[in-house]
């Protein structure tokens, strides 16, 4: 698929309100996510950025007493609809967590697992897709000789790239990163950032980060959240150099948060 020149709106968050029980965490959030780009969600702890991220793949549905109001549109349909097929949705929107989450199985089986869920079992094809995913995650060279080893034996940085490769293998349209590099050393983080920029060709990314330099380095668009509200959203260079709101200016300058 050739990425089109003009950015396409892949997702649109429309007047999204989210509640944990009676407690409202997201307040009328409006946000477009442009295709084949990286959007960073920044803001102080507790501002709702992770909560927003977890709305995209309906992770909140795993726990009781949550509810959504408003819409998130994807290709014209509201993915917050209660008839949405969550299994299908989650295979289209992969998620990478703060801590690496290798499954207790071999490196190879970790990647093949998602394919198995999608009923892709043709061995040569699986092998090909596993290698492709590991290459995309810049991990192939390091693990090609240890594919049968337990994934728990990899280093933290490798485990995180493995988690990313596992999500990529099922060719999702979107990858959601929840502070995916915050537990890693600078070199491992740099490798992942490099990989993310490469990946824009195939996948759209939404990235929650505490690290403002990271947001500035990798993302095309940045959204600042505060107390459950979206303060400002725009191209990353605009947000960091010519923010429209005073609060954004103060936040990116490090005055609070």
């Amino acid at each position: 698929m050739e990425p089109s020149k003009a950015p396409q709106e892949l997702l649109r968050v429309d007047k999204l309100r989210f509640y944990f029980g009676a407690h409202q965490v997201l307040k009328d959030v409006e946000l477009p996510i442009w295709g084949n780009s990286i959007t960073s969600l920044i803001g102080p702890s507790g501002c709702g950025k992770t909560t927003l991220l977890r709305c995209f793949n309906r992770m909140h549905d795993l726990y009781p007493n949550n509810h959504y109001e408003g819409r998130i549109l994807m290709e014209g349909r509201n993915i917050l609809d209660k008839n949405e097929d969550l299994i299908e949705l989650r295979s289209q929107l992969g998620m990478v967590f703060q801590k690496p989450t290798p499954f207790p199985m071999s490196v190879y089986d970790n990647i093949a697992y998602g394919l198995k869920l999608k009923k892709i079992t043709n061995k040569p094809l699986v092998r090909e897709l596993v290698e492709k995913a590991l290459r995309q995650a810049n991990l192939w060279e390091e693990v090609k000789d240890r594919l049968r080893e337990n994934a728990l034996g990899l280093s933290g940085g490798q485990q995180q790239r493995l988690s990313i490769a596992r999500s990529l293998a099922v060719s999702p349209a979107v990858l959601l990163f929840d502070e995916a590099t915050s537990a890693l050393d600078p070199i491992s983080s740099a490798k992942i950032e490099e990989m993310m920029v490469e990946l824009k060709k195939q996948v759209t990314m939404v990235v929650v980060t505490h690290n403002m330099q990271q947001a500035a380095r990798v993302s095309d668009y940045t959204a600042l959240m505060w107390l459950g509200e979206l303060v400002e959203h725009g191209e990353t260079t605009e947000i960091f150099t010519r923010p429209k709101k005073k609060m954004t200016e103060r936040y990116v300058a490090g005055h609070f948060g």
Partner: protein, 304 residues
């Protein structure tokens, strides 16, 4: 010496005393068992005692083969019956149970562990055994009784419901809460993020349990099973009520039999000197068998 150092020393002594007292108790039990069973060891030897099927009061000839077989068979059958149910309970509680119900189901299981074993024994004697005799044994005999080679073990050859199967069922109910609560702890320790990443790939609940929850909790479950085996081997009162206490060949799983603890409970009061020593010797054998199982299990757990 400053106060910090003194406090440290006191703390060390207190915890050290606790740990040492356990070691001393175990060592003390072992020494007592060896001393008391010494006449038996001298008279029956080791290999001969373990392999001998004798239990003859007149000739004063005693062997451990039948009580040990009975104890091990009953324990293994109990574990085999309790484990699937316990796993179901544990998975239900951690992964499926609505939060409102969780507390009461967990409490019910913990309460099961608090019922005195004599109650289980009486229930087995008056309720379970007659029921099994009337409905279960004929059914099993009909279904499995004609299987070549092993069919005989499923036929009822001696009337009554007091037998090895009844004993292992009672044992199974008694160890169920142990396996269930240890397995539940194991399942509960699986990190939320690990489960979420399986869900995040589009896995269903069942697929997540199979790929992530179960493999991560396997060790804890094995630990629970081993602890339960140890308990089943040593359980006395309930078994003594329902095992039937017959020193005879085990022609069928539905035949009355003996276990180490049932023999001790039944015969300790009226045992002559050499019989008494044989009873201690039996206990020693069970003690060592348990030790063997525990150390094998530990090695197994370390390797995987």
């Amino acid at each position: 010496m400053n106060t910090k150092k003194t406090a440290n020393l006191i703390f060390f002594l207190m915890t050290g005393f606790g740990a040492a007292s356990l070691v001393f108790m175990t060592a003390g039990i072992l020494v007592t068992l060896v001393v008391e069973s010494w006449p038996g060891i001298e008279r029956f030897g080791v290999i001969k005692f373990l392999l001998s099927r004798d239990w003859n009061y007149a000739k004063e000839s005693f062997g451990a083969a039948r009580p040990l077989t009975g104890a091990i068979l009953a324990a293994v059958m109990a574990v085999a019956m309790a484990t699937p149910v316990a796993l179901g309970v544990a998975i239900f509680l951690t992964e499926l149970c609505p939060a409102k119900l969780k507390g009461s189901v967990a409490l019910a299981i913990e309460l099961l562990a608090a019922i005195p074993s004599v109650i289980y024994g009486l229930w087995g004697l008056f309720v379970l055994a007659p029921f099994l005799e009337k409905y279960f044994q004929p059914l099993v005999g009909k279904v499995l009784g004609d299987v070549p080679w092993i069919g005989g073990y499923f036929q009822t050859k001696m009337a009554g419901g007091l037998n090895l199967v009844t004993a292992s069922m009672i044992l199974g109910v008694m160890i169920l809460p142990f396996i269930a609560s240890l397995a539940r702890e194991g399942f509960a320790q699986v990190p939320e993020a690990l489960k979420e990443s399986a869900y995040g790939l589009g896995a269903t609940r069942w697929e997540t349990i199979r790929a992530v929850v179960w493999p991560s909790a396997q060790k804890a479950v094995m630990g629970g099973i081993i602890m339960a085996t140890g308990r089943a081997l040593g359980e006395t009162m309930a078994v003594a009520y329902v095992i039937g206490n017959r020193h005879g060949a085990l022609e069928s799983l539905f035949s009355p039999y003996v276990t180490v603890t049932s023999v001790i409970a039944n015969e300790f009061n009226e045992a002559g000197p050499i019989q008494m020593s044989a009873l201690f010797y039996l206990t020693l054998a069970l003690f060592l068998a348990n030790l063997l199982i525990l150390s094998l299990a530990k090695r197994l757990l370390r390797r995987t």
